[in-house]
């Protein structure tokens, strides 16, 4: 038994030492060469634009920061994150809070990611930044056991390394100002579209609200208000439109804070044109350009009237 325990302890010491060395020698700046992780790393460590776009892939792919910059004459960055909702966006705001804070926050509403119980919050993207207390608290809030797991440097880099190993080319891809539009265009017929839409909307009016996610949505709005930033909410178009009732529960929360909502879900200038869509829920580059121009115009009017 003594020999067994001794060898086990030696093994554990080796693992701990190697793990510590791993953390000591590894520079996140060197790992973050491009792709999604570079985008996250940039938001968490460098980014300081006046406008910040937040939300899911619908935010990441629909809001061209260059058009926003040209129209509004202030700097912009797209911090939308594929398959993630506004809970992760709250983490981004916390990550840059002590460095600088955007004057204008544009949030894309995606209820099935923002407040629904169906989708998982990928707090693992934040593991490398867990030393930031606010970020660490957010991670632990979703899973208290992470407090112990995050003691491992290798574990902290789990998602980064997996992504790099999985997709080395896209991990070197340069994403300018957080935006990289899609090149495809929709090819389905309407019948299949409707079926797909049913499938990609894993929520309905009966959706179960995740109280924790809803709490983070409230925190996000409150943080923006404390920092005296303007926060606007958007619903971007879906191919052939969709039922607004899907959005009601999240809209109810947003309206508690009197936030303005720009609803383009069924905007007929866009929704019926398959050339604007990559798939049913995502605009392609062309669609994103048209859509961003529309909302930039609306924002300009709003800003002028509110004298931001």
């Amino acid at each position: 038994m003594k020999k067994f325990i001794l060898k086990l302890i030696i093994f554990l010491i080796i693992i701990v030492v190697l793990d510590a060395l791993f953390g000591f020698f590894l520079e996140l700046d060197d790992i973050a060469e491009g792709g999604q992780f570079e985008k996250i790393h940039s938001i968490m460590t460098r980014e300081c634009s006046d406008i910040l776009v937040l939300g899911s892939s619908r935010a990441a792919l629909h809001y061209d920061p260059l058009i926003l910059e040209d129209s509004l004459e202030i700097t912009a960055y797209n911090a939308g994150l594929t398959a993630q909702g506004l809970t992760m966006s709250y983490g981004f705001l916390k990550g840059l809070e002590n460095r600088c804070f955007p004057r204008l926050i544009l949030c894309e509403i995606t209820p099935w990611l923002d407040i629904s119980k169906t989708c998982h919050v990928a707090t693992n993207y934040f593991y490398p930044y867990a030393d930031n207390k606010e970020i660490g608290d957010l991670i632990i809030d979703f899973d208290p056991s992470e407090k112990v797991k995050l003691m491992s440097n290798a574990y902290r880099l789990n998602s980064v390394f997996t992504e790099k190993l999985n997709n080395p080319r896209s991990c070197k891809e340069i994403i300018y100002k957080g935006f990289k539009g899609l090149d495809g265009h929709i090819t389905y017929d309407n019948k299949i579209d409707n079926k797909i839409e049913d499938n990609v909307s894993p929520y309905n009016t009966e959706q179960q609200v995740d109280s924790k996610k809803a709490e983070y949505l409230r925190k996000l709005i409150e943080l923006a208000q404390i920092k005296k930033s303007k926060i606007y909410f958007f619903i971007s178009p879906m191919y052939l439109g969709s039922d607004i009732s899907y959005y009601e529960k999240e809209l109810a929360i947003v309206k508690e804070y009197d936030c303005h909502v720009f609803n383009h879900l069924n905007d007929e200038r866009i929704i019926n044109n398959p050339d604007f869509f990559n798939d049913v829920i995502h605009l392609n580059k062309k669609g994103a350009r048209v859509y961003t121009e529309i909302i930039a115009g609306e924002l300009k009017k709003m800003i002028d009237s509110e004298q931001l």
């Binding site: 086990l8 190697l18 793990d19 797991k149 574990y155 880099l157 789990n158 390394f161 999985n166 499938n199």
Partner: protein
């Protein structure tokens, strides 16, 4: 407590220390009573953690089989024993029938009645099936039959028997142990054995890698495609089907190796449930390498009592089909599982008819045979994975549309296949067990352990995903 959970990481070392402290101090030279009490408490505690009330079912199955075995052994006349054994079997199976098959049977009954024009709304129970119910029920039933066939004596010590049924490393997903393997180990004093414990750790590490890195990574691709197969090309569906074959292997074999490892760390040897099944050169051989303990159970208590292969060709084929019908039903209350079982049964009948069920001797012929077996098993897994036969057929038809994969296959899958594949090929070729990590050089051996540990930390999926076989 699932082996890939965070709870396991902190709780198991405590269990290990507590068990051996009790064994080496309190039990020293006085039998294993206290250590067994502790293990029983832990086993029931872990089971209760999931649902306290379902421990009553576990206790019920244990008590019924214990009592019936005692009564059967005490009766002399064989005829009376027959009534007793069937009463015992039915009572033992009752929770399984109610929890797992009630809805299936009522739905099937209602469909049959609807077919002849009688509309009946089927009653359904919204009860969650107790975890591991199929496994511990079959283990207890095996014991009962063994007593009936006078292969073993009925166990007198209820505590020992309770531990045999509830032994925590194997209660959730097996393996299904035989009484003559596990009960003697429960009784006999087995001092701490260094080589057994280290082999246990190796199995634990390898099982964790298979589950957390290999199976769960593949599962991400599989789940994405199978959530809506028609959105993806035939190529992606084909890739998903192949990935699923390896996912379920990594998942179930991973669990079994972890169970084996945990048991060995506590001084117990349980059956090794997997032996590189995808190297099988026939479906019959596949079942000698896949879920070995279930195959053994079905052979012993279904196939052989029906006559096995001793009563002519027709009876042999019938017995194979019957055995795999039971196997399908055991896996789940759905026509897909029955169909899956039938495919395996049919494939074995065909192999037997053409004499293809024996091991291949020619080195050149073995590779095409392995591939052919894999194709059959792979397509059968589609029925196992999909929620209905219609959807399974839809996926298979879609696969034959031969489109290129339109869901990116990440490089990580390639590396995983190369690593696990090469390792398994070497082990298969050298006829050694993975737990050995056999190498005379300590640097290479320890390098292997460190490599696996860091692979788990860096590339593992850490959401404590359930093991696929927990659902059975």
């Amino acid at each position: 407590m699932i082996f890939n959970s965070f709870q396991f990481l902190w709780l198991f070392p405590l269990i290990f220390v507590a068990y051996w402290v009790v064994d080496m101090t309190i039990c020293k030279g006085k039998g294993k009573k206290m250590a067994n009490w502790l293990l029983l408490l832990i086993s029931y505690g872990i089971y209760a953690q999931w649902n306290v009330s379902y421990t009553l079912i576990l206790f019920g199955v244990t008590s019924v089989t214990y009592l019936f075995a005692r009564i059967i052994e005490s009766k002399q006349a064989f005829g009376r024993k027959k009534y007793l054994i069937w009463s015992g079997v039915l009572l033992t199976l009752l929770p399984l029938i109610v929890f797992k098959y009630f809805n299936f049977v009522t739905d099937a009954g209602a469909s049959a009645l609807a077919w002849i024009g009688i509309d009946v709304a089927p009653k359904s129970l919204n009860w969650v099936v107790p975890l591991g119910l199929s496994f511990y029920t079959f283990q207890a039933l095996g014991y009962l039959w063994d007593v009936y066939y006078q292969k073993i004596h009925a166990e007198k010590d209820f505590l020992d028997y309770m531990l045999f049924v509830a032994f925590f490393p194997q209660i959730l997903c097996g393996p299904i142990s035989r009484a003559d393997e596990l009960l003697p180990q429960i009784k006999e004093n087995s001092p701490f054995n260094y080589s057994r414990a280290t082999s246990g750790l190796k199995y634990l590490l390898w099982g964790m890698f298979l589950k957390i890195v290999f199976a769960d990574r593949l599962g991400i691709y599989v789940d994405t495609v199978y959530a809506d197969p028609m959105r993806f090309s035939g190529g992606s569906n084909l890739v998903a089907s192949i990935f699923y074959s390896f996912q379920i292997y990594g998942d179930f074999a991973g669990y079994s190796f972890m169970a084996l490892g945990v048991a060995r760390l506590l001084g117990y040897d349980i059956v090794k449930n997997f032996n590189r099944p995808y190297f099988a050169s026939s479906v019959s051989m596949f079942w000698k390498r896949w879920n070995i303990s279930l195959t053994r159970w079905l052979t012993t208590y279904i196939y052989i009592p029906q006559g096995g292969s001793r009563k002519g060709k027709f009876r042999t084929y019938r017995n194979i089909m019957l055995t795999f019908l039971v196997s399908g039903i055991w896996h789940g209350a759905n026509w897909t599982f029955i169909f899956w079982g039938m495919i395996h049964g049919l494939a074995q009948c065909v192999e037997k008819a053409f004499g293809l069920n024996n091991p291949v001797k020619s080195r050149w012929w073995i590779i095409p045979r392995i591939l052919l077996t894999f194709i059959v098993v792979n397509f059968a897994w589609i029925f196992f994975r999909m929620p209905s036969i219609e959807q399974s057929i839809q996926v298979i038809r879609h696969i034959f549309s031969f489109g290129m994969p339109n869901l990116g296959i990440g490089h990580i899958y390639l590396y995983l296949f190369i690593f696990v594949g090469l390792l398994e090929i070497i082990l298969e070729y050298k006829k050694i067990q993975v737990q050995s990590f056999v190498n005379q050089y300590i640097i290479l051996r320890w390098g292997g352990y460190i490599f696996l540990t860091f692979s788990i930390l860096l590339f593992g999926v850490f959401n404590s995903g359930q093991f696929i076989y927990v659902c059975f």
